[in-house]
C-alpha cells in the first residue's frame, strides 16, 4: 500500500509560508498515494518558476527543465516510453506565456499526461511582474500603470483546442483538488487542471479570501461536464463567481494510441534488430 509518507522528501522546501503551492503539493501526494502509484513509478516534469520547483519537494523521478518547455520534455519522454506516468507542474507564466505554443500543441496532440498549472496570476519567482492571466488593470512594479491586455483564458482556450479533460481547481480546497488530480491522472489523454493558487508575497488582489469568496464547486450545481457548449459558457465566468471542478470531459484516443508502431510495445521496449536494418539497406540499394 502506498501512503503519503512514502512521498515525503527531506529536501528543504523553498516556498514562502502561506503560499498556495503547499495545498497543491499535499493534494498531489494524497492523490498519488490513493491511486497506489509509488514514487518510483511517477515522473514529474516541470518548467521554471515557483511551480516548477514542486518536484523537488516530494520523493519522485523528476525532470525540472526550462522556463516554458516542460510539456515538450514530457512529450518526448511519453513518446519514448508511454508506460510512464507523467504529471507536469507549470506556472501561469511558464505554461501560458513562455510555453504558449507548446501548450497549444500539447493539447492538439492529446498526449497522455496531466498538466497542473499553478495559476497565481503573477510571476512569483521573478518577484511580481504581470503574467498572462493577471487581471486587467492590475498594478505591479513593472506595470506601474496597470496591465493593459485582457487576461488569457486557459479554460476557454483548452476547450477551443479540443482538450478532452478540462478542470479548474483551487489550492484552498485540497479535498476537491485531490479528486480532480485523481480523475485527471486516470484520464487517457491530455488533461489540464488550471489551479487557482494565491501568491501571498506578490499578488495582493487575487488573495486567498478573494478566491474563497468567488469559487464554487460545479458538482454542487449538478453540472454535467459532457456538453461543450455549456463548458464554453462556464469557462467565461470569472468576475462574480468562479466555477471549479471538471468543466469538460470527453473520451478520445490519445496520441500514442494513434501511432501504429506503439500499439504493441513502447518505443523503448523494442530490441535493436540488425537483421531488419540490413533489409532496409538492401531495399534502398
Amino acid at each position: 500500500m502506498v501512503t503519503v509518507k512514502d512521498y515525503e522528501c527531506s529536501f528543504e522546501n523553498k516556498w514562502c509560508s502561506g503560499c498556495g503551492n503547499f495545498g497543491i503539493l499535499s493534494a498531489m501526494k494524497e492523490s498519488l498515494a490513493e491511486l497506489e502509484i509509488s514514487p518510483d513509478n511517477i515522473l514529474l516534469v516541470s518548467g521554471i518558476g515557483q511551480a516548477g520547483k514542486t518536484p523537488h519537494f516530494m520523493k519522485c523521478n523528476m525532470f525540472h527543465s526550462l522556463h516554458g518547455r516542460a510539456l515538450t520534455i514530457a512529450t518526448g519522454a511519453k513518446l519514448a516510453n508511454h508506460n510512464l506516468n507523467i504529471i507536469v507542474n507549470s506556472g501561469d507564466g511558464d505554461c501560458y506565456g513562455e510555453g504558449g505554443n507548446h501548450f497549444i500543441n500539447a493539447v492538439r496532440r492529446n498526449i497522455d499526461v496531466t498538466l497542473l498549472v499553478h495559476n497565481n496570476q503573477i510571476y512569483g519567482l521573478t518577484k511580481g511582474q504581470a503574467s498572462p492571466t493577471s487581471d486587467q488593470g492590475m498594478k505591479t512594479n513593472l506595470q506601474q500603470n496597470g496591465v493593459i491586455s485582457e487576461p488569457f483564458n486557459p479554460v476557454s482556450t483548452a476547450l477551443a483546442l479540443g482538450c478532452g479533460f478540462v478542470a479548474r481547481g483551487f489550492s484552498g480546497n485540497t479535498t476537491q483538488l485531490k479528486k480532480l488530480i485523481k480523475e485527471a491522472v486516470n484520464y487517457r489523454g491530455f488533461s489540464i487542471i488550471d489551479i487557482l493558487q494565491p501568491c501571498v508575497s506578490f499578488n495582493k488582489i487575487n488573495t486567498y479570501s478573494w478566491y474563497k469568496s468567488k469559487v464554487y464547486d460545479l458538482e454542487d450545481e449538478n453540472y454535467s461536464p459532457d456538453s461543450l457548449e455549456n463548458a464554453f459558457k462556464i469557462s467565461r465566468l470569472w468576475n462574480e463567481k468562479i466555477p471549479t471542478g471538471i468543466i469538460y470531459k470527453e473520451e478520445k484516443l490519445s496520441y500514442t494510441e494513434k501511432i501504429k508502431v506503439l500499439n504493441r510495445h513502447a518505443l523503448i521496449e523494442n530490441n535493436y534488430n540488425p537483421e531488419k536494418l540490413k533489409e532496409v539497406i538492401l531495399n534502398i540499394a
Binding site: 523528476m62 515538450t72 507548446h102 518505443l267
Partner: protein
Amino acid sequence: MTFDISIKIGGEAGQGIQTVGNILTSVFQSAGLYTMAINDFESRVRGGHSFFQIRISDKPVNAPSHKIDILMALNQLTCKYHEKELTKDGIILSDARFFSEKDNIHFIPLTELSAKAGDKITSNTIAVGIILSLTGMPVRLLEDVLKFSFQKKGKDILEKNFKAAELGYDFASKFKYNLNLPADNFDNSRININGSKAIALGALASDCRFASFYPMSPATSVMKNLSAFSKDIPFIVEQAEDEIAAVNNIIGASFAGVRSITSTSGGGFCLMTEGLGLAAITETPVVIINAQRPGPATGLPTRTAQADLQFVIKSSQDDFPRFVFAPGSPEEAFKITQKAFYLSEKYQVPAIILTDQYLNDSLFTIEKGVLTIPENIKSFIIEDKELENPELYKRYKLTKNGISQRVLPCSGKAIVRVTGNEHDESGHISEDAENRNKMVNKRFVKMEGMIQEMSSPETFNKESDILMIGWGSSKYAIKEASDILIESGIDIGYIHFTDLWPFPFDMVTDLIKNKKLIMVEGNRSSQLGLLIMEQTGERFFETVLKYNGRPFYPNEICKQVKKILE
C-alpha cells in the same frame, strides 16, 4: 581516367529537372559508372532558374566539374548562364521556343514527342532518353530504372514512359554526336546516395528510434529519409511546433531511454541553443544535425555554406563540453553519425554534426559495403539490478572521469532526478558555492576523455611544404584540386578535418609546424583558421574562401592557390 564528362540540365523550378537528373544518375550508376551529381535550386516552387549537374566517369568522382559536355536547356536562362561552361566539343540541347542557329545547338522537340507518347508529362522521360542515346547507354537500362520509379503509378503510366524513352532515344540516335560511354561493367556493388540518406542510415545503425524536427532547408531531407524508414521499423519522426520543442522533445525521449536525433539549419539551431544547454547541464545525450546554409537570418535558404563552425562550438549559456563533427562524404556521414551517438551516450553530452546543403542534397557513388550494420549496440545505461543500493542512487555522483551512472526514470527502485538548475549529486537544486565548483568541474573533466576519442585529421601528401586545410563537405573538391596541382608540378598536400571539437590540437600542432598553410573554407572569416589559431597559436594563413552559396569546384581552388603561390 579514360573519360570524365558532365551533363547539366537547367530549367525552371517545377519542370522536373531533379526527376530527370535522378533517373539519369541511376542509369549511369547501373551501367557500372561512377557519378556525382549536384542539385542547384532557388527558394521557390515554380519558375526561376535551377539545374542538376551530373559528372560521369569510369573512376570515382566526388566533386562537381566546371566543364559541361552536354547542356540540356529547358529554359533560355540555362543557355545564358551556362553556355560558357561548355567544353570545346560540347553541345546544347534545347527546346524549340528559344532555338537558335548556332552549330552546337540541337533542337529537341519535347512537346511534339511527348504528344506522340500520349501524355505531356512524359517529356521528362523523353529528355532522359535523348541524353542516354547521346551517351551510348543501352535503352534497356533505362527501362529497369523506369520500372523502379513508375511502378507504383500504374501500368498505363509505365507504358507511356517506356514509349517516351524510346521516342527520345530514337530521335537522338540520328545525331552525329555520341559520347559512346562504355556500359559493360554491370557492377552492383555500388549505390548512389546523398548525405541526408547517409545520416539517416547512420542514425538507424546507432539504434536511434526517435526524431523530432521543425522543417527547414536543407535539414528536412534527413527527416524525410528517416520518415520513409519508419514504415518498416519502430521509429517515430515527430514534427514539432518549433525548433525549441524539437530539441526538448529529443531531450525528453533520451532522458526516458531512447536514442534521439534532431536536424535543423542555422536559424533553427539558434532556437535550439537553450535546449543544448539543458542537455549539457542535465547530462542527457542528444545528437543534433546542423545542415548549414548561408545566413544570417533566412540568408539563402536552398544554398550551401560552411559558416556555423564557430557558432556550434561556442553557442551556449556559460560553457560546457560537447562534440562537433563535420563529415566530408556520405561514407563519413554514415560513420560519424554512429560515432556521435556512441560518444554522446558514453560521455552524456550533446553531439553536433555539421553538414550543409551541398553534402545533404548531392548524390555520390559509394560502395555498398561501407554501409555495415553493427550486430550489437553498446549501451551505457545502468539497470537497477546493477546498482549496489538503488535507494541511494545519485544521478550526478561525482566521479574521477566526470561520468555518473545513468539510470532511466521509473525503471526500478532508483529515483532519478535531473534539473536544468545547478544541482547537487542527487539532482536537487543547489546554490552552494563549493558544490557549484564541483559540478562545473565534473562536467568539464569529461573533456580529458573526450579529446582522446577524436580522430586526427586525414592527410594527403602531408610531407609537402604547402598544405591546404579544409573541413566537412569540401573534402573531395580540395582533394581533387591537390591532385591537379601536383600534376601541374606544384608540390602540395591537404589536411581534412572531420573531428572538430574537442579540438585535437596535439595532433594538429605537429602537422602544421613550419608549413605554408592555405585555409579552404565556405565562409568569410576562415572559421577553422581562427580555431586553429586559438588552439595552436599558429598565426600565418593564406585563404581560399567562398561564401556565395555555391559549392567548391576543384578548378577554382587550383586557380586561387596558384595565385597565392605566384
